[in-house]
Amino acid sequence: MSTHATAEATELDEGETATFGMWVFLATEVLFFGVLFFAYVMTRLRYPEEFASAGRHTDLTLGSINTGVLLTSSLAIALAVRSVSLGAARAGAWLLVATLALGAVFLGLKSLEYWHDYTEHLVPWLDFAFAPPERNGAKLFFYLYFVMTGAHAVHLIIGLSLVGFMLVRLWRGRIDAASVAPLEVTALYWHLVDIIWIFLYPLLYLVSRT
């Protein structure tokens, strides 16, 4: 995003403008996902038991590993921004590579998990495993599970492309300590996607594990 500011706007101002713009965008993202959390709360209020028993069938191991992976990727990209703004472009590039790798691992594991869900008949619109008394509620749980994780995965893919793009620009020397704003803004987006997962994890994987 280029910013033609008023004549006297400085580089620093432009960074601030971009950051503010991204935060406004993140607010819209919060509400975008917010609808899903809202739907989750209201539906769970209606089907507490069904959510509990359906929730036990999500893949806790993969979900937990992925949580660790994503939290670590957030650290990587935060450190990348830090390195670049301190002038260490090379270290920054490697940290971005790490971010990309962790993001890819997340998506890989997520796909594996979807595959397991498929083989265990947890996909509500295909031959669904749960029998009538719980069927309706469990269907809605898995419906929300797929919509929520699916929307999250789409965002992660967008995040990956942005990070990849930043890596290329860093490589070509288009980003340096003085013009770190685009990278910073990308990192903000990445962190938000991470925060969304922080909430998805307990709501989808930790329901009634006692």
Binding site: H4, A5, T6, F20, F33, P124, Y143
Partner: protein, 556 residues
């Protein structure tokens, strides 16, 4: 324009005035090929791109309305089939709301004027601005394709389970189009917010902003915070429709009221998206032609913010008979009355602005005064439907139809026309025929009232809305309404003739033909590409009008 304003009177001291500059040297001369328009990142040119598209949609939506009104002349459904009628009001509502009225003032006048009014060179993200336009066009094409290919008969509200289980499959496409257009809204709103925060000229403090900027700013906040909710709700609707699983259909274990909550959480704030910019226009126009500072500037600004925020808390007033809990109904009704207070402030302050003014009645002023009166009537009838027990009787009748057309057509569309006439010389550098413009304003006002006032009576008498056929005792009022609609249509067609005519034959406009205040009038008409030759500095409050001086000069 009338004699006084064409040869722009000597401005009071200290008020710099732009000149009439050769059109080739303005932003309009920066390129005339189609390609130069489609790739422009100049906010002024993008505004014109929007204006063209929006005008097309207004007449498309109006054509659907015209067909509906013709059908409703007789109680039997003799012109079109029931199915076609249902598709007509759905197309009418969807087009008018999402493709005309929501983008109308913000994307045209907001785009054109925000940078000019705050003394900036462009919006914060010019390329994003162009992208918003393309996203808007893409969404519009998708929806129009659905409406033409097979039509959608859900009503603009898409209530479940009708939309997910029973309506035709084109609903998928239509919803996808609305989803896409939502992103255009979000990006536009984001751009305005960042621009107003970051790019104000030196000296342009918050309380020196013109009220139009305040209004667009508040509108943008709503766009950014409400639209994502609609977007995700539509996604859920689509998934439910396609996969047959979902949280909205009781047959699947869902709850239809969940959908209604989500829809109105967006759509009630959206009605303020449609009226706040109109209020901003009214404040600019009335001060200019009363030649007086706006009464209670600060209170006007606060009222705008109050409407934008409280407006988010009242959505449940669309659900009083839906099966929502009565306690929730009581809460939402109370909050609806609270949101009416800032609107009341605005109406009274506009009136008070006239006091001891030095008033002239050029076309923009006629439209603006029409706006105030009709908005007030629409708003006051909002108080009827906000009263719980009255709404039980009036909901889903023509009373509601009349309520919102008074605000949206009588209010917002009137203000849109006020804006067109007020800023036309600035945008095009030409003057239109003042006589025709005033004539059209009067025709529209008369036609409008004849169209929609009878609908209040119909609604109070119990005629439900979305009715293709109706009980015979409602016929007389319906005939009156249809007659009014034809006058209204004629009124709307007039500007379509004399405005383009002025582009070729109109007199050249000076930089400040109305002797108005505000940065946009201090640059040339039309403005240069870079807006201001020297970056402006703002030394004073807005609306620095002096009625005594003007009257002494005008009355002499």
């Amino acid at each position: 324009m009338n004699a006084t304003s064409v040869s722009s009177p000597p401005a009071p001291e200290g008020v710099p005035t732009g000149d009439a500059r050769p059109i080739e040297q303005s932003y309009l001369g920066a390129g005339s090929s189609l390609w130069s328009w489609l790739t422009t990142v100049d906010h002024k040119r993008i505004a014109i791109l929007y204006a063209v598209a929006i005008t097309a949609f207004f007449f498309l939506g109006g054509a659907a309305a015209t067909l509906m009104r013709v059908e409703l002349v007789t109680p039997r459904g003799d012109l079109v089939s029931a199915e076609t009628y249902n598709k007509l009001f759905t197309a009418h509502g969807m087009i008018m709301v999402w493709f005309f009225l929501i983008p109308s003032i913000p994307t045209t006048f907001g785009n054109f004027l925000i940078p000019l009014m705050i003394g900036a060179r462009d919006l914060a993200f010019p390329r994003l601005n162009l992208m918003s336009w393309y996203v808007y066009i893409a969404g519009a094409c998708i929806t129009v394709a659905a409406l033409i290919a097979g039509g959608v008969d859900t009503g603009w509200t898409f209530y479940t389970p009708f939309s997910t289980m029973f309506s035709s499959s084109y609903v998928i496409l239509a919803i996808a189009g609305v989803f896409v257009v939502g992103f255009s809204s979000i990006l536009t709103g984001l751009n305005f917010i960042v621009t107003v925060h970051r790019l104000r000229a030196p000296g342009m403090t918050w309380f020196r902003l013109p009220l139009f900027v305040w209004a667009i700013y508040a509108t943008s906040v709503i766009l950014v915070l409400a639209t994502p909710v609609l977007a995700m709700t539509l996604v859920l609707l689509l998934v439910e429709r396609v996969l047959g699983i979902g949280i909205f259909d009781p047959a699947l274990g869902g709850d239809p009221l969940l959908f209604q909550h989500l829809f109105w959480f967006y759509s009630h704030p959206a009605v303020y998206i449609m009226v706040l910019p109109a209020m901003g226009v009214a404040s600019e126009v009335i001060t200019c032609f009363a030649h007086k500072p706006v009464f209670g500037y600060r209170m006007m600004a606060y009222a705008i913010l109050a409407i934008a925020t409280i407006g988010f808390l009242v959505w449940g007033h669309h659900m009083f008979v839906s099966g929502q809990s009565v306690y929730a109904g009581a809460t939402f009704s109370l909050l609806s009355y609270l949101v009416a207070i800032p609107s009341a402030i605005k109406v009274f302050n506009w009136t008070a602005t006239l006091y001891k003014g030095s008033i002239t009645f050029e076309a923009p002023m006629l439209y603006a005064l029409g706006f105030v009166g009709l908005f007030m009537l629409g708003g006051l009838t909002g108080l009827f439907v906000a009263a719980l027990a009255l709404d039980v009787h009036l909901t889903d009748t023509y009373f509601v139809v009349a309520h919102f057309h008074y605000i949206m057509v009588g209010g917002s569309v009137m203000a849109y026309f006020a804006a067109i006439h007020y800023w036309w010389p600035k945008i095009t550098g030409r003057c239109y025929s003042e006589g025709w413009a005033r004539f059209a304003a009067v025709i529209i006002f008369v036609g409008f009232n004849l169209t929609f006032f009878p609908q209040f009576l119909l609604g109070a008498g119990g005629m439900p809305r979305r009715y293709h056929e109706y009980a015979p005792e409602f016929q007389l009022l319906n005939v009156l309404s249809s007659a009014g609609a034809s006058i209204l249509a004629a009124g709307y067609l007039l500007p379509l003739l004399y405005l383009p005519w002025s582009l070729r034959f109109g007199a050249r406009a000076s930089g400040n033909p109305w002797d108005a205040r505000g940065l946009e009038w201090q640059t040339a008409s039309p403005p240069p590409v870079e807006n201001f030759e020297t970056p402006p500095v703002v030394p004073e409050r807005p609306y620095d009008y002096r009625p005594q001086a003007a009257a002494a000069e005008g009355g002499a």
